[in-house]
Amino acid sequence: MAQIIGLPKLSPTMEEGVLVRWTKHEGDKVSPGDLIAEVETDKANMDFNIEDEGVLLKFLVKEGETVKLGAPVAIIGKAGEDVSALVQQAAQRASDSGPRTSAGPETSTSAPAAKAQPREATKPEMEQRAKPTTKPPAPASSATGPAERPQAADLGPQAHSGKLLASPLAKSLAIELGIDLRHVTGSGPGGRIVERDVRGAAEAGGGNGHAAPQPEARSPKPEAPAQTAIAVRRPQAADSDGDYTDVPASAMRKRIAQRLTEAKRDVPHFYLMRTFDAAPMLGFRERLNTLLGDRGKVSVNDLIVKAVALALRRVPEANAAWEPKAIIDGSEGAIRVFHRVHVGIAVAIEDGLVTPVVRDADQKGIGAIAAEVRDLADRAKHRQLKGHEITGSTFTVSNLGMFGIERFTAILNPPEAGILAIGTVVDAPVVVNNQLAIGKRMTVTMSCDHRVIDGALGARWLAAFVDLIEHPESLAL
């Protein structure tokens, strides 16, 4: 019998999470431990591993939606089961769990992907963007009950209007030990908090359920078998000859490893390169900064972001993603064209990258973009970005110019179909009016997903970009 899966507690202090990305599709068969989604919590991006087995019959939450703890996110069951009653029940439960920041669960049974709608927010994932993430050992799914025992599905501790489900003993023990039960994940039937959970929380240092330890507090005793291999590896294990040292990889590093492998392997990349005259852009920037005075600075990158955004408006076919599971007229696979332009900007942070997003960059003035990017980058370095600030980009810019890199190729950030790699400005011999001269040149490289962007389309987009950036006044229009 189908049942509703609720959002589990993935970090000790989370009250809600942003469903950043579904890593499975509706109709996929899943086994306990499978990663079904990434969820942005107050702490970090967390993996949502399912504890049940079955077929993901329906997603109740769109990517980018904010979901309260315990609120329904999906329905799991056997293939072909009728889920309409559960969808209604879920809608009821979702409203019980309080308002969400965006639309409620869809009641239509058609896959959301089938509608070529702009995605409000999609989780970017690629080299520049892997976010600080961590994988909790065996995230207890608070609202997932035993299959075929329907009542249990409703017993998630937070599933009902915030009422905590804990045994009387657990409650009294929590008072005695000073444990906040709201931060404890229940391991009893239906996610009920029982004595061992409270004791585990006390051992873990209070208010910190053993089933959902803080990322920082993990590692000595991994609970999920899948983690064992990594977690039991001793940090900095050197081989006997001293020829190498194994440095433990952070969760973010592992995420980068996984995501980029997937992207580079699964997306048919090709690359288009253009070198253009950077002098107008540099001159324009100087004029702008003079005008701005003490009110801020505009960087080359800000201008590029604006140019990318406007180029995507001029060539909207490039503002798109390949949707393998979308079904149109009975056949699978579609190009999803985004209606809004959200530009992601890769920002290097300690031990990794994040990709904050400038939403509707095409609509914003250069000064506004500059201020926003500076704020996002600052907070990114302190890992203070919120879920919605790092999700939903439709195209990405990666800039290594400040490091003196002349040109490079970037790995795409699925599902986006394009990423632009920005090199540095170089003084180059150029021919002007049949005379050799010294000019300012910049090379950009566009990585394209060939399923969406063919060579000619990519070239057309790059031409639009170059036209804009070589005539930077148009960026101010």
Partner: protein
């Protein structure tokens, strides 16, 4: 001949096997169940069920004898032994047929015969189970073959005068004197039954008290009750010899601590010293299945090999309800749905002698041995209105709570209705109801269950009715 591979073959149809088979079928697994005897196994045919029927006859007899005390004239009260046995058999038969019905309803094939696991063709091959001339294939095999009575070295069961429980419930005539070896649940239940019928009983128990697995206070209370009923007991006695002498059995018992021997005679000797698992004919050797004192060894999830599972008495559990719960657990594991592990520290046990005994959790002695801080409370039936009105005032309810956390450590009940009201304490134990919650739970008045709250109040020193 070979059939299409099944998902699951369950070997044995006792309370472990038949429940496992039905749960498998409910979860959509193609299931068959092999049974060499009657469906329902020992529990339904030769254990729990027919003995409860016998004990009900004994209870009615006891009530009839006391009828005058209640202002009811009943004359000519006497047992009709043959009719009592017949009724017991009919009930067992009826319940066993119920299992057959459930199998048909759930489309579970009942394969009659003795099953043997054949060597496996390879790691990814289905298991092959031979039953007579037939070989069935299955991805999973659940071993639920149960156990049978065992005897002691030197004491030969002859099926007439020296018998085990199975024969003891179908004796051709009521014995005038019965010796019972072993004062566990089976021993005291038969002693209680035959005593009600008027048989002279002597129980010989090696350990120093009756029902030695129960709390010591329970043993003491049962001892007093049995003394009153005229059941002779030789606790702390070893049976030195038992031999048939014509239509009699001659026994020699000697104190375990040494001392003068006691000579006894009885029409029948019931040997109730425990059980041995049924594993010999299963072909376990070829599968590397390990045994521990004869019982199949499993991991914490009842696995004993790849696609091989074992539940119930054959792994040494000894209680029908544990076997059933393990059956459900294993079925859900196989089906891949959520399976809630058993709470082995929250398993109630009931003994249906008169007075009845029910218990859960640790005894007081065990709790103390574990250095648990405890609060112990008792509530005697003679102070409970309902019990007094019913004329059932033997025994008490004893509860043991954790002094610091208020968790239920154990509960030990002897007397009226205890085998039913233990359910409240089972729930308390498994769901961590603490003493405070139990005391604030309103118990209907007048009921036997009130004694549980009363005993808990006593533990906390504020019993209203004591």
């Amino acid at each position: 001949m070979s059939d299409a591979p099944l998902d699951v073959v369950v070997i044995g149809s006792g309370p472990g096997g038949y429940v496992a088979a039905i749960r498998c079928a409910q979860l959509g697994l193609k299931t068959a169940c092999v049974e060499r005897a009657e469906l329902g196994g020992i529990c339904l045919n030769w254990g729990c069920i027919p003995t409860k029927a016998l004990l009900k006859s004994a209870e009615i007899l006891d009530h009839a004898r006391r009828a005058k005390e209640f202002g009811v004239i009943v004359e000519g009260v006497r047992p009709d032994f043959a009719a009592i046995i017949k009724r017991s058999r009919e009930i067992a038969d009826k319940i066993s047929k119920g299992v057959g019905f459930l199998f048909r309803k759930n489309k579970i094939e009942h394969i009659a015969g003795t099953a043997k696991l054949l060597p496996r063709a390879g790691a990814w091959q289905p298991h092959k189970i031979q039953v007579g001339d037939r070989v069935v294939e299955a991805k999973h095999v659940i071993l639920a073959t149960g156990a049978r009575a065992k005897s002691l070295p030197g004491i030969e069961l002859d099926g007439e005068r020296i018998v085990e429980y199975r024969r003891a419930m179908t004796l051709p005539q009521q014995p005038r004197t019965l010796a019972v070896l072993g004062a566990g649940a089976i021993g005291v239940e038969f002693a209680s039954f035959y005593r009600s019928l008027g048989t002279e009983i002597t129980i010989v128990e090696f350990l120093p008290r009756l029902v030695p697995n129960e709390d010591a206070e329970i043993s003491l209370e049962l001892q007093k009750a049995f003394d009153k009923r005229g059941i002779k007991t030789l606790v702390g006695h070893k049976l030195a010899s038992a031999r048939r002498d014509g239509d009699r059995v001659k026994l020699v018992a000697e104190p375990a601590a040494g001392g003068a021997k006691v000579e006894l005679e009885a029409d029948v000797l019931l040997v109730a010293v425990g059980v041995a698992p049924n594993t010999e004919t299963l072909g376990l050797e070829a599968h590397g299945i390990q045994l521990d004192r004869g019982f199949i060894k499993t991991d914490a999830e009842n696995r004993c090999g790849d696609g091989l599972w074992a539940i119930g008495d054959v792994i040494g559990r000894g209680l029908a309800h544990v076997a059933s719960a393990e059956g459900v657990f294993v079925a859900e594991k196989i089906a891949g749905v959520h399976a809630e592990p058993l709470q082995y520290d929250a398993i109630p046990a009931c003994t249906y002698c008169h007075p009845e005994i029910a218990s859960i959790g640790l005894t007081e002695a065990t709790a103390k041995a574990q250095n648990l801080p405890i609060k112990v409370g008792r509530f005697p039936w003679r102070t409970l209105a309902r019990a007094v009105g019913s004329g059932e005032t033997t025994g008490f309810v004893k509860v043991i709570w954790h002094a610091e956390t208020g968790a239920l450590v154990g509960a030990h009940l002897i007397g009226p209705a205890v085998t039913d009201i233990i359910a409240e304490l089972s729930l308390a134990k498994s769901t961590e109801v603490n003493a405070e919650s139990l005391m604030s739970t309103i118990h209907a008045h007048p009921t036997f269950a009130e004694a549980i709250r009363g005993a808990t109040e006593d533990a906390y020193g504020h019993a209203i009715d004591l």
